[in-house]
Symmetry: C2
Subunit: 450 residues, 2 copies
């Protein structure tokens, strides 16, 4: 809100050619607030003009935070020199992210503008797999040697600081660039100036290979409360670092992916409103099709039991209630299980305990809900036999839902799939088909029509 007003004021200044004032107002703002302000459908000329008003460092920071659409518009409408300067000055990790999204021909053209050194780097980073640690790292780390004194290390840090992602955690490498340890700036400052880095550093530090999934990097940073995670190649040579601020984005991205999978949607890359309507429809369609094809089995089941249904029509009254409740219990159990696996609370060795636990919970919840079912059947006046059928069916179907919700994600993991694909929709479908069979078999027993 406040930012919106500020931007109106700045727009006024620009319209009235009071550029110095506009400049001052902009320099006091946070980069992300400026970036969001620039995402309000400005004309391309105005967008580029804003960047001319910003001090150089701030301009680069703001550009890094822009949406891809705005970044593209800037690159199309700025002068050649401006484009060159911008992409040369960007952080390596942000540049990789930008190049990832741009059309290949544009990337090729932009790579030509880079200095040979930066071009080589950009090409290397683009060579790592999508969503890998190599893809999100930056090679802008400070490296120290083990036999430097703390004093010499501080001198080196002062010299190198400007062009580096962070100076708070430095990497210690040998002559062959192999990672030996990590050292905290805090420890360097507090140490006796003549101490060797070797004696202060954390040897054998946690690191991640370039090919590891970004989620693994996020988990390591979170588990060990790291500020900086070193990334190494197959020979344990240091190639880059990932810092904590990149990880918050990864965590959010991965959570969104899990939410989507669990609702039976293939992960959508873009933001909700930026994603194409057809893209989203397609990502939803796949699971809807799988489920409707599986659900088609319920018609076969119902047709099979139609002789009972024709004689006791009131049996059908409870079909949605039964399968709905079973599906709900299944969704709940699956969510608890999948989330437990994702955050690493649930392990294979707990399997026996989990099954016992979910069976008990299922029977407990099932019988309590069964009582409600029988009450409902009596209310509607179906007679005792149907009422008892409903009660027994609710109990068993809730148990069924619970076990399906618990075991299917475990099964997925056993065959090395993401447990989250055992989504609510899929589990609901399984419970629907099995639940109906249970219900009508029970009806056969209680009503004696089979």
């Amino acid at each position: 809100m406040e930012c919106n007003k500020l931007f109106e004021q700045i727009e006024n200044c620009i319209d009235q050619k009071r550029f110095r004032e506009a400049k001052e107002l902009l320099s006091d703002m946070e980069p992300i607030d400026i970036a969001e302000g620039l995402e309000r459908d400005l004309s391309p000329a105005r967008l580029v003009f804003y960047f001319r008003l910003l001090p150089k460092d701030l301009a680069v920071e703001v550009f890094e935070l822009l949406d891809i659409e705005e970044q593209e518009r800037f690159l199309q409408h700025a002068t050649d020199d401006e484009v060159k300067e911008m992409i040369e000055e960007m952080s390596d990790d942000d540049r990789t992210e930008l190049f990832d999204e741009l059309p290949a021909t544009t990337v090729k053209r932009l790579l030509q503008k880079l200095s040979p050194e930066e071009r080589k780097l950009a090409n290397t980073l683009l060579g790592y797999p999508q969503d890998s640690a190599g893809r999100i790292m930056t090679p802008e780390y400070i490296d120290l040697k083990a036999h430097m004194t703390a004093e010499a290390a501080l001198v080196r840090i002062r010299q190198k600081a400007r062009s580096k992602e962070t100076i708070y955690t430095c990497c210690v490498t040998d002559e062959g660039r192999h990672l030996l340890g990590m050292v905290e700036l805090e420890d360097l400052i507090l140490a006796d100036p003549q101490t060797e880095v070797l004696d202060i550093m954390d040897g054998g530090p946690v690191s991640v290979p370039t090919t590891a999934d970004q989620e693994e990097a996020a988990q390591l940073i979170s588990r060990y409360d790291l500020h900086t995670l070193p990334v190494v190649d197959r020979e344990n040579r240091l190639v880059g670092i990932i810092t904590f601020d990149d990880i918050l984005d990864v965590v959010e991205e991965e959570a969104t992916e899990d939410f989507e999978r669990m609702a039976g949607i293939e992960p959508v890359e873009e933001d909700y409103l930026d994603a194409g309507l057809l893209t989203v429809a397609r990502k939803r369609f796949i699971w809807l099709i799988i489920c409707i094809v599986a659900e088609a089995l319920t018609s076969t089941v119902l047709k099979h039991y139609s002789p009972i249904v024709q004689r006791v029509v009131s049996l059908t009254f409870f079909v949605p209630l039964l399968i709905g409740t079973g599906g709900n219990a299944g969704t709940q159990a699956a969510t608890l299980m999948i989330r437990g696996m994702t955050v690493g609370e649930v392990q294979w060795r707990d399997l026996g305990r989990i099954i016992l636990r979910e069976t008990t919970t299922g029977l407990l919840l099932g019988s309590a809900l069964g009582l409600l079912g029988v009450a409902r059947a009596w209310m509607i006046g179906t007679g005792t036999a149907v009422a008892w059928t409903v009660a027994a069916a609710v109990t068993l179907i809730v148990l069924l839902g619970n076990l399906a919700g618990t075991l299917l994600p475990l099964l997925a993991r056993a065959v090395r799939l993401d447990p989250a694909i055992m989504s609510g929709p899929l589990i609901t479908t399984v419970v629907d088909v099995c639940g109906l069979i249970v219900y009508f078999e029970l009806a056969g027993v209680f009503i004696g029509l089979n």
Copy 2:
């Protein structure tokens, strides 16, 4: 795996009284790995003994990372002096978290053991609301004055470093402890030693009040890529800081809460396997009850339409398929919408666009699935009238599910509830009831039985 082996080795050393070797092995491990090793049902005496083997600083770090159960066991079985030292040395934020979980009488007894200064602090922190910024902050920040030189600031930082949570971002306050700005250690190091802090600091920094929700603090840290977020009281006086490593836990906690809510489970505080069976059952029961009571309406609907059903029994064959598919579409739409709102992509001003978008998607998906429905009906041999009824019903019910999934979370937000309470189970239930009415009304039109 590797840690497990290491622990076996350490256990062996202890059993054979080779304590020096055990000590050395332990000192080389990461605190979190030791903490997890100690969570393997050791005897209380052995647990306490491990802490005696650890160097003091490491012991405190490991203790902070232990589960509450193990922390309690240590506090019960360690000597009075050991307990006193441990809780005195703990970080303030970790101590608050521990005291939060302990029984009130234990907390009272422990507070008596603290030095008067720490006791006052602990009491203040415990006074802030649950899950608020005040509750997770630590007062262990470094404060500087605006007119100090960079050189003097660095001297002060060196003096104070040992007892502080971080030295990388320092707070600048006036005589009345009002927050004036934040300054990065990097900028202090790189500045001319005679520059005043005032000229280097970031004035008017982002801060959060003590009473703000911890989720808000997490969002600010993520949005502004902060290392350290200052926490202020109502008069803008600095009272503490929150650092990025606390935030990863908050983000994970909040995501788990959303997952649970969206599956119709009241948020469970504990880990999956630590939570009591009855607690989890209770948190699931509430929504199962709400849904089964609402689902009971489906029996009324079905009873109302039973004359049609009795004449055309094959109509019932498609009930689970129809409402299942509608529920799936609803769950998908709700997940996209709720997640979009949580990460801040969806705003009120987009309302018109969203409704248009979801109507189109609903019709698109619905008509595609409707074709499958009609195919299925023909396969099962129901005759043309029923087949067309099913096709039309699938289309409309998917549209209905889509709109319910989109609009109910928006409605929840409009009345200031967490959109995530519009969970899959709840939306499925709404779609079930409305979907059946749509289906049988369509049947009346197509088959002409009304």
